[in-house]
Amino acid sequence: MDLPKSTLTTPELLDLYFLENRARLLEIASFLDRLERSAGAGEGGDFRQRAFMEALEILSRPGGDRTRAIQMSFSDPTSEPIASAVGLKACGAWQGGEP
């Protein structure tokens, strides 16, 4: 069974989702402002902050594939297993070769 790509019109989608996503946008803006007020803000943060800023750039691209593209931007692109998982946990962004 194929589904329509969307059952609702653009105005209907905006009626349903605009306010909650406006609030999310303000949360992100406030988060970025908070980071800039923090001690050490001038040093650019760590790999997570850089990954976050890269994802924000993807947000403004058209094409209907933003969610997958952002997921890919946060992901470990390598294929080799790591030697040990002891003491490690996921943090949401791939550290890569960064300290």
Binding site: M1, D2, L3, P4, K5, S6, T7, L8, L16, Y17, T67, R68, Q71, M72, F74, S75, D76, P77, T78, S79, P81, I82, A83, S84, A85, V86, L88, K89, A90, C91, G92, A93, W94
Partner: protein, 267 residues
């Protein structure tokens, strides 16, 4: 409306949650074995846990007319200790025989380490040799894509495992295409802070279609919601999808996958 939650950790939930599930129309649940939030110290702890999954929880659920099924396996978080893993792997067949156990799960990878892969391969071999269904856990966050790819490669190399008897869980937008290409079932998990929201899950339905998809709450001891499947079903209503399609996603699909185990019967 009848709903099956194909992935929920009721050992971590209160009895009140069973009441809420029943009132919401969720009268069938499947509970995979998982990591309890700490590493267990010995195989005796796993005996106790598997007993809880196969005896205590079905009885607790039955008080609310809920059918409780489980999956047995060694989770990837505790696979790094190979000595303990060997002991746990040895007791799995005993519990796989129990009447409410559907197969091996949730097993898979967490950080994509060599030991995790070795233990996962052993459990794939066990599933293949016994003809068990497989419920697979994919890693969290930045590790998900790599782990999903490694697991699919391992499955492709085991000809006795057929994709239609595998459900690869916690799929997200960047892993769904590769899972669909492999041909297995895939699960979407609804978490407030990670994985997916009801809105994103319905987006995935629109993009990838309703075939071989199972949506679950995966509610456990962390931030999660045992009624998340109902909220996602309501999200479909908000987008004007018909009840027939909603029932397919939240009842018929999980019923079709889980019914491949002859022990399963949906309420």
């Amino acid at each position: 409306m009848k709903v099956i939650d194909p992935h929920i950790h009721m050992v971590s939930r209160s009895t009140d949650d069973y009441m809420a599930l029943a009132l919401g129309g969720i009268h069938t649940v499947a509970e995979p074995a998982f990591w309890p939030g700490f590493d267990r110290s010995g195989v005796a702890s796993f005996h106790d846990y598997f007993q809880q999954l196969t005896v205590t929880e079905p009885a607790r659920a039955a008080r609310f007319k809920i059918r409780h099924y489980s999956w047995i396996g060694l989770n990837s978080k505790e696979a790094e200790n190979l000595a303990l893993a060997e002991e746990v792997l040895a007791i799995l067949p005993e519990y796989l025989e129990r009447p409410s156990v559907l197969g091996i799960g949730e097993v898979g990878l967490n950080k994509n380490s060599r030991n995790e892969i070795a233990v996962f391969e052993r459990q794939v071999e066990l599933a293949a040799s016994r003809g068990e269904l497989l419920l697979l856990h994919t890693p969290h966050l930045e590790d998900k894509l790599k782990g999903t790819r490694i697991m699919i490669d391992i499955l492709r190399n085991e000809p006795r495992i057929t994709p239609e008897r595998v459900l690869i869980d916690h799929a997200e937008e960047h892993t769904i295409p590769e899972i669909k290409k492999y041909g297995s079932w895939f699960g979407l998990t609804l978490y407030p802070d990670s994985k997916g929201s009801p809105a994103r899950a319905v987006d995935a339905l629109e993009i990838f279609g309703p075939d071989r998809i199972c949506i679950n709450s995966s509610a456990d001891w962390s931030v999660s919601d045992p009624l998340a499947t109902l909220k996602c079903a309501n999200e479909m209503r908000r987008r004007r999808y018909p009840e027939q399609l909603i029932s397919r996603v939240f009842y018929q699909n999980p019923k079709e996958f889980l019914s491949q185990c002859p022990k399963f019967s949906a309420a």
